[in-house]
């Protein structure tokens, strides 16, 4: 028995290279964790015992108005004693958040800490996963300090009660922004456009057909060209040239190219037109029209 007791610290020493004096370490006994809902009696709510060798397997649920109470007796070696540091350390493994709540320790090692959600930093209330509750006991001198996870604390809160978000100003990259462009102007379906184009284009043959029905003809063309060939050719030519100039203005010319050309065509139309129309007048006087 004695031999076994002697070899255990030695093994520890060899494995962790502890100084020999650190063989006696801090620890605790008689530990309970209780969650007391608001208004419940002293013994109401959840209560569970735990020990340093046997942490609670199930997460402790800690809701909005509950009071979490952890009591234990601190020990150095196996005798109850008051340490310099006795903390309940809540730690989120994911984000690395940590906060400690010191136990109120009596001279005989009896320690107790009470906690409500109001005392937790806001960051903890936003955590989805249970946090790690650890007991940290340590003091000056050579005794080995104790730090171990004893239970998981699940911080539950009413999802309908909003809590302020914590987003302190920190320099970092900002979300990307891509400008949303206005929609490009849209066109109706090409079929509809083509149908209307066909209707518009059909107006010209319809007009021609109606005129022919009413007896429109070009029977005087040979007579007119025999009487005044040059004015008629120039007058018709200048009218067609006008349309050509407008076409070029539409496609590529600018106003300064268009105006001189239009002036030239206009002068030709004026001069040749008066002669050509004189010839038309002559035909009227001759009773041909």
């Amino acid at each position: 028995m004695h031999l076994w007791q002697a070899t255990l610290p030695f093994c520890l020493l060899a494995s962790a290279a502890l100084p020999a004096a650190a063989a006696s370490g801090w620890g605790f006994t008689d530990a309970t964790v209780a969650v007391q809902p608001k208004g419940a009696g002293i013994n109401g709510g959840f209560k569970e015992q735990f020990s340093s060798s046997k942490p609670l397997s199930k997460a402790v649920s800690f809701a909005g108005a509950d009071t979490l109470r952890v009591t234990l007796t601190t020990q150095e070696g196996s005798s109850a004693k008051r340490p310099h540091q006795a903390f309940l350390l809540l730690q989120d493994a994911h984000s690395g958040l940590d906060i400690s709540y010191p136990f109120t320790v009596k001279e005989n090692g009896k320690s107790r800490v009470e906690l409500t959600q109001k005392e937790l930093p806001l960051q903890f209330l936003h955590l989805a996963d249970p946090v790690d509750a650890r007991v940290v006991i340590g003091s000056f001198g050579s005794s080995e300090a104790y730090d171990s996870s004893v239970f998981k604390l699940s911080i539950d809160r009413d999802p309908h009660v909003p809590i302020p978000t914590v987003e302190p100003a920190r320099y970092g990259k900002l979300p990307e922004i891509h400008h949303i462009f206005r929609d490009a102007p849209s066109n109706p379906t090409i079929i509809i456009t083509l149908a209307f184009v066909a209707m518009v284009a059909a107006a010209l043959p319809v007009l021609a057909g109606l005129w022919l029905l009413l007896g429109a003809n070009v029977n005087h063309l040979p007579t007119a060209f025999k009487n005044a060939p040059l004015p008629h050719a120039l007058f018709l030519g200048s009218l067609i040239a006008f349309e050509g100039i407008f076409f070029l203005y539409y496609t590529s010319w600018n106003l300064f190219q268009t105006l001189p050309a239009a002036a030239a065509a206009g002068a030709v139309a004026f001069l040749s037109g008066s002669r050509a129309l004189g010839e038309v007048q002559g035909r009227r006087f001759a009773g041909l029209r």
Binding site: V105, V136, H178, H179, V200, H220
Partner: protein
């Protein structure tokens, strides 16, 4: 004569080479010469890196941070004075003025004695808070030096800090253990983006006033990683203010001390390297960014002609190219700036608020710089826009570039032609049918012979 000049120039260049990016005049404020000798390695290291170190006592009448209204020194290192306060020449206002004029400050505290209220109020200006009685010391019963502090546990042994966040460059990392004796802890205000911790206490640490027996539960203000051992404030003008909780960590004794954690091996401290990293960062030898050439132009194939570079005016929906060249100072030279893995250098195209915020990608590297660039289409909104690069990160000097350009509408001849718009075809067909009809009418009117029976009726 000529070689003499060349030699002089060489010496000058060598001296310039090993300098901080913002000057070499360093003032060390310390109490007396006995204190000075215990930091001799630090001084020789600083002088070896090209600093021009001068020492003054806080009580000295000659001590002045300014001369003719300008900074008399580029950097300031303040060791905790034994007397109360820093004296009439180093009031918090003087020190803040020094900071506002781009001077860098390394302020060391000590947990051995209470910090003066003058220093405490100076730190408050930087949103760095000391414990309420200003005489707390950080204790950790898990990470202490068993050789020198077996009883008191007030010599912390910590790993060098890694990067603060995955998107922040680590300037203080590396192997090895730091010994930090008798740390005066600081806590940081949560609201400011300018303050950042360099080294935090482990989560089992706590602070207490060693004059008190056992701290009552309600006396403990901050614990664990809320306690900072080294913290910084980089002002908006990129001047740096570093607070080191443990001045003793800079002493020769701790630069290469053998230490041992409760359940670890005996090792030698790396305080000397950490002191180098800390002073180098504070005095702007590292983490300094410089913007080189900024280019923007329309996206074209091949080279851009000089007259097309950085135009004053763009049109809406123009495909635009933007590039910025950034260098980083590293101890004695400019090197290409590399972004940390999770970080982005972002370009904003802004009129009042950003219309585009895009990541700039590294496209090419020169010997001293990296060129970051991106392409984007200008928004369909005319107005006065600006290309903005606003890169502010902890531990890096800020990059704030703003280049204004006009974005105009389409000109009258830049719209699509009517025949390209299918809805316009009906209108075009109508126009030409009118023209055709007119010409046909002219021909018919000029040359039509009257129909025989109709003329009879009228006659």
């Amino acid at each position: 004569m000529r070689w003499c000049l060349a030699l002089l120039l060489c010496c000058f260049l060598a001296a310039v080479n090993a300098l901080s990016s913002s000057g070499s005049r360093l003032l060390v404020v310390l109490d007396d010469s006995t204190e000075k000798s215990s930091f001799s390695t630090l001084w020789s290291d600083l002088e070896g890196r090209g600093y021009d170190v001068s020492f003054e006592s806080p009580k000295s009448d000659k001590l002045s941070l300014f001369e003719h209204g300008e900074r008399a020194y580029d950097h300031l290192l303040v060791l905790p004075p034994k007397s109360k306060g820093l004296g009439p020449n180093l009031t918090p206002k003087h020190i803040l003025d020094f900071l506002n004029k781009d001077g860098n400050i390394l302020l060391a505290l000590s947990g051995k004695s209470a910090t003066s209220s003058a220093v405490s109020s100076l730190l408050l200006e930087a949103d760095v808070h000391l414990s309420s009685d200003r005489s707390a010391v950080v204790i950790d019963h898990f990470n202490y030096d068993t050789i020198s502090a077996a009883e008191k546990h007030d010599v912390l042994l910590l790993q060098r800090p890694g990067s603060l966040r995955p998107d922040i460059k680590a300037f203080f990392d590396g192997e090895g253990v730091l010994a930090l004796p008798r740390v005066a802890p600081q806590t940081l205000g949560g609201e400011s983006a300018l303050v950042a911790p360099i080294l935090r206490a482990p989560n089992t640490a706590y602070a207490y006033n060693p004059k008190e027996e056992i701290p009552a539960a309600e006396d403990i203000e901050a614990t664990g990683s809320q306690l900072n051992i080294v913290s910084t404030m980089q002002a908006r003008n990129s001047a740096r203010f570093t607070v080191l909780g443990s001045v003793e960590a800079l002493e020769d004794k701790w630069f290469s001390a053998s230490v041992k954690t409760p359940n670890g091996q005996k090792t030698t401290t790396v305080n000397r390297e950490f002191a180098k990293q800390l002073t180098a960062w504070t005095f702007k030898e590292t983490g300094v960014l410089k913007v080189g050439e900024i280019k923007h132009h329309l996206v074209t194939d091949g080279e851009v002609a000089l007259e097309d570079l950085n135009p004053k005016i763009y049109r809406i929906k123009n495909e635009t190219f933007f590039s910025i060249e950034i260098s980083e100072y590293s101890y004695d030279k400019w090197v290409p700036f590399e972004l940390p893995a999770d970080d982005e250098l972002q370009l904003e195209f802004t009129m009042l608020s950003p219309f585009h915020r895009l990541a700039l990608e590294p496209t090419s590297r020169t010997e001293t710089s990296t060129v970051y660039s991106t392409k984007f289409v200008t928004p369909d909104q005319h107005g006065i826009f600006s290309f903005r690069v606003n890169y502010k990160r902890p531990f890096l000097t800020s990059v704030e570039e703003k280049h204004e350009v006009t974005v105009r509408h389409f000109a009258h001849d830049e719209y699509a032609r009517s025949w390209a718009i299918s809805a316009g075809w009906v209108w075009i067909a109508g126009l030409w049918s009118v023209i055709g009809g007119f010409l046909a009418f002219v021909v018919v009117w000029l040359y039509s012979a009257p129909v025989a029976d109709k003329t009879k009726k009228t006659q």
